[in-house]
Symmetry: C2
Subunit: 480 residues, 2 copies
């Protein structure tokens, strides 16, 4: 009854290939800035090189790595390049990669406490650490009324917040009877698109999402918010949810959380804070004021996978009252019942988010925090911010470029005075050349260039080179 | 302007620690069957050993690994043990771990084609391979009208299917105006709880989820389904979605997909097939009939992270008409606009699921398929099924245990004739001893034991020992 051939990779081969892979990754990280940052391939170019069907017989791992080097690598946009300034970063670090390796090797499913108690307890504990690192109010800790959980992305985190808010407002009736007409949610015109996506998903519909106007810093106007809430109430509607952004995606605008929070309290609305990118900065006391007013919030999220050197995916989602969240999302079929759950002494994180299954993601966050220590993380945040502020000064002092606003943190928004078409051409030309990669937004009908400085290995020389390339390319394009 | 100290782990240290981690994982996988399968810790035991706050100064990686061994490992339930028979497996393999390592090292975000073309194109391509491996109809391939995408879990996949179905039925009005009253979805009494969770999430409400009765094999009764649809139509309601399960979680029951599909066509309902566990079996021609009728389906999912040796998370979700899916989930804010997207020549997978950000998960699936080849995967599926059928025969031939039904694949459901309390005690006693770990369900008010045989390294000796332990423990408990 024994196998003739097991087809499995022998453990000795895994040791060999695994060590080669470690060297491959180390070589990659040492050389990443030599690649064109934005992949230069054309649509379909990668697929055209792959065989039409899966192999019948197994292949050697060396053959696969040959294809990685030859076929896959030209199709990579190098998010780990120190010359990556587009979107928001998705930064990474050696301890995080080691944490992901360990989680992959253990291969545990943390859906219930019982299915790996360490996966749940380490996550709860590390998120309490993080709450303290950000000086979050006590209600966001597991030792208070709430607690933290790792979600995959801010999109899912915001969806979770909206669900809890929806159920709280209508006494958990939407879960049973479906959404009633008339529930209304509030964001600003600058809030991330994931809030709109989530409002569609939960059955409320984007027509019931109010996009409140912003001030000259692109931050939500609290008076406009209150006015809209009053209008909606007068019309018999049911306001239930506000998302305040600390660091919008377009321009890092900071909504006035405290004023918004007071309005939420007055009208009994759930306040969710999306600080996906900027939240990490709150570990530095000098940036903590960005979160002032969070004591009025019901939920809060930020992504260590953006700016805290922790591999995607890792979104930290905190809730002030975990009972509401759990009552919103808990379902307990027979096949998941177990003693520990029944005792009530444990968290089952499957009740804290949309998914059932979940990976042991706390390991990488634990490794990152322990490796860097709080002072190491602070050092890098401060350095990124200092580089961005310096870059902003260069822009401001130049003759041809205009700084959109003084950057609150590490995102510099600016544009060339030659107008929208010129800025678009400038960006496309530079990105095509591959020496750096940055992206754009549109603000007040203006095509605005965005340089977000938050990649793990970005140093002074990278931003100096970037600024030189941007100026010289602009000069060339102006003269042509 | 240079760093005095970077706090980053030097690449040379990463090489050293990475190789040690590979050996740690290899040692773990070689020794995993020596651990008690179900963790024996008490609630709070792990946390109590962790310091109350994050370290200010960084620590050595060796210190962290010491804590992994001392504090974390006792809190692990060993999903990768060959003696793990609980729930459904979350199996794993060396090529998959190597794929996760590579994805971690590259650290790319595949939200748009442009943000790493290879991440999108490899995923599209490998999912076309998988469609062919499972002999899915042509419409589920990217070369047809549909295509595949990797989602995190079946929960999210089913949620996605319900959203697309909701929007298709009401001409994309729920996205704008919110869900109208009266939409009705159908599952069986045995469908996975994730469908109910999703119906709550999308704002339809569980009262509008009909749990259709099942036959003696626990499969949905098509005539009962049709009767319920007619009743709902007569009452002015709007039926829109049916989830058919191929391999339910409780007992691996197979819903009659073809008959259900005909009803869906007749009444214009979206048919979603949840084959999270059993889907992998369709790569063997002799098990492909399980999916008969899939040509009538609108969406289909299965989890390589359950039974296809691919690390969690990896759910393969296929849709027959990608336009509906994309129209349901697409939002394109300015900061994500780019040439490739505007050309229409590429897929942007962020429009295929709830999340925006996404990891390069296709690598691990590609490695697994290429390492094993189709014949290697078939070999293991067949062996698991053969072991389960043999185990079922042992149960059937015993005097004290009763086989619930002939297992369609690799899940054996059975119980001791001494009644519910005895079976519960039997399971708890064995699981506490740690030699194996299995779980239970309740069917027809009977406490039923579940042995799912699908762990990567489970071999004949493991199921022989498991059966011996079960019988001997039952004997001991009967006599005490």
């Amino acid at each position: 009854m024994n196998d003739k051939k097991s087809f499995h990779m022998p453990v000795s081969d895994f040791r060999e290939q695994g060590k080669k892979m470690v060297d491959w990754i180390a070589d990659y990280l040492e050389n990443v800035e030599n690649y064109p940052v934005l992949s230069q391939v054309k649509p379909g170019e990668i697929r055209a090189q792959l065989p039409a069907s899966a192999p019948t017989e197994g292949e050697s791992f060396d053959a696969m790595m040959k294809d990685v080097n030859k076929i896959i690598m030209p199709g990579i946009t190098h998010w780990q390049s120190p010359d990556f300034f587009a979107f928001f970063p998705s930064n990474n670090s050696a301890p995080s990669i080691l944490g992901e390796m360990l989680a992959s090797g253990l291969g545990v499913q943390g859906m219930l406490w019982a299915t790996s108690p360490a996966a749940t307890e380490l996550e709860t504990h590390v998120l309490d650490w993080v709450a303290d690192m950000l000086s979050l109010p006590a209600q966001f800790k597991s030792t208070g009324t709430g607690g933290g959980v790792i979600q995959d992305t801010a999109s899912t985190g915001t969806l979770t917040a909206i669900l809890a808010a929806r159920e709280k407002k209508n006494r958990f009736m939407s879960n049973d009877k479906g959404v009633k007409n008339g529930m209304v949610a509030y964001v600003s015109s600058q809030t991330h698109s994931s809030a709109e996506k989530a409002i569609k998903i939960v059955g409320i519909g984007k027509n019931n999402l109010r996009k409140i106007e912003v001030d000259e810093t692109f931050a939500m106007k609290p008076d406009a918010l209150e006015k809209q809430i009053k209008t909606d109430l007068d019309n018999g509607l049911v306001p239930f949810f506000v998302c305040a952004s600390v660091g919008t995606t377009s321009s890092n605008a900071i909504d006035p959380v405290f004023s918004i929070g007071e309005i939420c309290k007055k009208y009994d609305l759930w306040l969710h804070i999306d600080a996906a990118m900027a939240g990490t900065a709150a570990i530095c006391p000098e940036f903590r004021p960005l979160l002032n007013g969070i004591e009025l919030a019901d939920s809060f999220l930020f992504n260590p996978h953006k700016w805290m050197f922790t591999n995607f995916d890792c979104d930290c989602f905190f809730v002030a009252d975990r009972t509401i969240l759990i009552n919103t999302l808990s379902i307990l079929p027979e096949y998941l019942k177990n003693k520990a759950t029944e005792s009530g002494a444990v968290f089952d994180y499957r009740d804290w988010h949309v998914q059932l299954g979940r990976k042991f993601r706390a390991l990488k966050l634990w490794f990152v925090i322990r490796h860097y220590g709080v002072e190491g993380l602070q050092f890098h945040i401060r350095k990124h911010v200092e580089m961005a502020q310096t870059f902003a000064r260069w822009v401001d002092e130049s003759n041809d470029f205009i700084l959109l606003n003084q950057p609150p943190l590490n995102l510099v928004c600016f544009y060339h005075k030659n107008g929208n078409e010129f800025n678009k051409k400038l960006m496309d030309t530079i990105n095509q050349e591959g020496k750096l990669f940055f992206s754009h937004t549109v603000l007040d009908e203006r095509f605005v260039l965005r340089m977000c400085i938050g990649q793990t290995n970005t140093d002074w020389r990278h931003i100096e080179t970037a600024w030189t390339i941007i100026r010289e390319t602009a000069k060339k394009l102006s003269e042509s």
